[in-house]
């Protein structure tokens, strides 16, 4: 692995994402709108397993949604690089494919993590009570989520070659993943058959872990969330790197 190459790929990723300011803001507005509207609109909601105010319950979920969407977009941007030819410039350089994947993942997760923290900050302003001591473990969950999602984006990008296919994947895969992640309702209030599906959703462990860390009230032990999410993270990154290494142009 070449450190300078990792660094410059990271730098490019961050520069590109920061320069696409409108998308950066759009990525923040959506989860914040959901948080404010549902958080206050459902403030009297009573659900089995809901031990917090709905706003407090929803906040970690929206952070994860923002982080996952932003990271996935950056992983998937390989499609754009391929379409606009830049991928060739990267692949022909004397740099290992692993460095390329790591640089891209770090760049995407840097921006995603900052976005997640921005949502967290706004939610504190909205009145969410967060546990300061939980910030560090919380940050770990945010980082893992973003790396997982970049890897997932890379996998999608290696299989999908056009923008239309990408839209389809976002609607058929990502949207259900978000809805099922227990970001919106507690695990306990779902019927049993649905619980099975929820356990299969990687984002469940991200949402549950972050919730446990910063506002409390997680459905599973944090160590379990952490272990499963780390494993999934490693899996998608390795698979993403492998598929990316094989891609021809």
């Amino acid at each position: 692995m070449t450190l300078q190459a990792v660094y410059v790929l990271w730098l490019r990723e961050v520069k590109r994402l920061v320069r696409a300011r409108s998308r950066l803001i759009a990525n923040l507005i959506q989860p914040l709108l959901i948080l404010a509207i549902l958080g206050f609109g459902l403030s009297y909601a009573k659900l089995p397993g809901l031990r917090l105010s709905y706003l407090d319950f929803l906040a970690p979920g929206m952070v994860i949604v923002a982080v996952a969407l932003s990271s996935m977009t950056s992983g998937v941007s390989v499609i754009w690089d391929r379409q606009f030819g830049f991928l060739k410039e990267v692949l022909v350089a004397p740099v290992s494919r692993l460095s390329i994947v790591v640089g891209k993942a770090l760049g995407g997760s840097t921006v995603a993590t900052l976005q997640g923290l921005a949502i967290l900050a706004v939610s504190v302003l909205l009145g969410v009570q967060i546990n300061i001591l939980g910030l560090l473990p919380g940050l770990t969950f945010i980082l893992l989520t973003s790396i997982f999602a970049v890897g997932l984006g890379l996998i999608i990008a290696s299989k999908v070659n056009d923008f239309e296919g990408f839209g389809l994947i976002m609607n058929l895969l990502v949207f259900p993943l978000i809805l099922l992640s227990t970001a919106f309702f507690p695990l306990e209030s779902a019927p049993n058959w649905m619980k099975g599906v929820i356990y299969l959703d990687p984002l469940t462990y991200a949402v549950d872990g972050l919730r446990g860390a910063i506002v409390g009230g997680s459905a599973m032990p944090l160590t379990l969330d952490l272990t499963i999410l780390s494993g999934l993270c490693a899996l998608t990154m390795l698979l993403g790197a492998y598929l990316f290494g094989k891609c021809e142009i």
Binding site: T2, Q4, A5, Y7, V8, L11, R12, K15, R16, R19, A20, F84, G85, F86, L87, K88, E89, V90, L91, V92, A93, P94, V95, E248, I249
Partner: protein, 320 residues
């Protein structure tokens, strides 16, 4: 080397050639002839199905990293990040090739000057014109001082003026940096203008390889071009004449007649046409160009598009 794609398409078929250090080598052929496939194999982006290739002494399959370090490439389609500035694109490239800060700063300045982009270096690439993007890519290809620079259709889609400018830069790079240049093109005058040696490739096979003048000597003949009525009749008659080396009919009304010492043959052709009752609309005599060699070798029939003017451009040329 040979490359067969999944699905059985034979992109290049037992292609073999040698490029001397420091020369500009032209790889000439119509679209789909296998030029880009050859470049991709030589630049390690594709593996050959069989055979082998060495670049700067390194095997493209076994030592891809060493090959990548020794070469620079300008791809057929633009490969710039248009959300970065020109300078940032060059800096990205330099870091990918492991150059340190001092080398980077010095080299960026040099290559920007070489292609005349110093003033626009800090503009976002999306605000560049097509010609400027190409120049930036040429500059980037040279950033890490490669021994060999691959240029895949460097002037495709550019207007005549930008094309001339690119040619000048290419010659300058070759002269000032001593870099070996492997150029693919389907513009015959481009190969003729730039290359010291030319390989003509068609349908995946190299059908000629020589200097431009050597290729022309290969024909050693003058070309009489004429447009007339009933060309078929004239073709048949000409084929029977001993002094006619070859006749090619293209379009429905144009002929190329290959002869020696063409000055003396023009009246003969006209006389023959009159005897046959064929009306000659126009006639011209030319010494052979690379273009004629190409048409002669590939048998591709150029067509006349603009009525009176004899169409010397093969169909694939007229797109741009």
């Amino acid at each position: 080397m040979t490359k067969i794609f999944n699905g059985g398409l034979v992109a290049i078929d037992r292609v073999s050639f040698n490029v001397e250090e420091g020369e500009i080598f032209g790889f000439l052929g119509p679209n789909g002839a296998g030029k880009t496939t050859t470049v991709k194999i030589l630049s390690t982006l594709l593996r050959p199905t069989s055979g082998m290739a060495k670049v700067c002494g390194y095997d493209v399959v076994k030592q891809p990293d060493k090959v990548r370090r020794s070469i620079g490439i300008v791809f057929q389609e633009p490969a710039l990040d248009d959300r970065l500035t020109g300078r940032e694109n060059l800096d990205f490239h330099a870091r990918m090739y492991g150059m340190n800060r001092r080398q980077r700063e010095r080299r960026i300045k040099e290559v920007l000057e070489l292609v005349g982009l110093t003033d626009r270096a800090d503009d976002l690439v999306k605000n560049y014109s097509g010609g400027m993007k190409r120049r930036l890519e040429l500059a980037r290809g040279l950033m890490h001082s490669p021994k060999v620079l691959f240029l895949d259709e460097p002037t495709l889609g550019l207007d005549a003026q930008s094309r001339r400018a690119i040619w000048d830069y290419v010659l300058r790079m070759n002269r000032e940096e001593g870099v070996t240049i492997f150029l693919t093109t389907h513009y015959l005058e481009e190969a003729e203008f730039l290359a010291k040696k030319v390989a003509i490739i068609d349908k995946g096979k190299i059908i000629a390889l020589d200097t431009p003048s050597g290729l022309k000597d290969l024909m050693g003949r003058d070309v009489i071009t004429l447009s007339c009525t009933k060309p078929q009749v004239l073709v048949e008659a000409l084929k029977g004449e001993g002094w006619v080396k070859d006749v090619k009919l293209f379009d429905s009304s144009h002929l190329s007649i290959y002869v020696e010492r063409g000055e003396g043959k023009v009246p003969k052709v006209v006389k023959l046409a009159e005897e046959l009752g064929v009306e000659v609309a126009s006639i011209s005599l030319r010494k052979p160009t690379l273009e004629d060699v190409f048409i002669h070798l590939t048998g591709k029939a150029p067509r006349d598009e603009e009525g009176g003017k004899v169409g010397w451009w093969p169909p694939w040329r007229r797109r741009a």
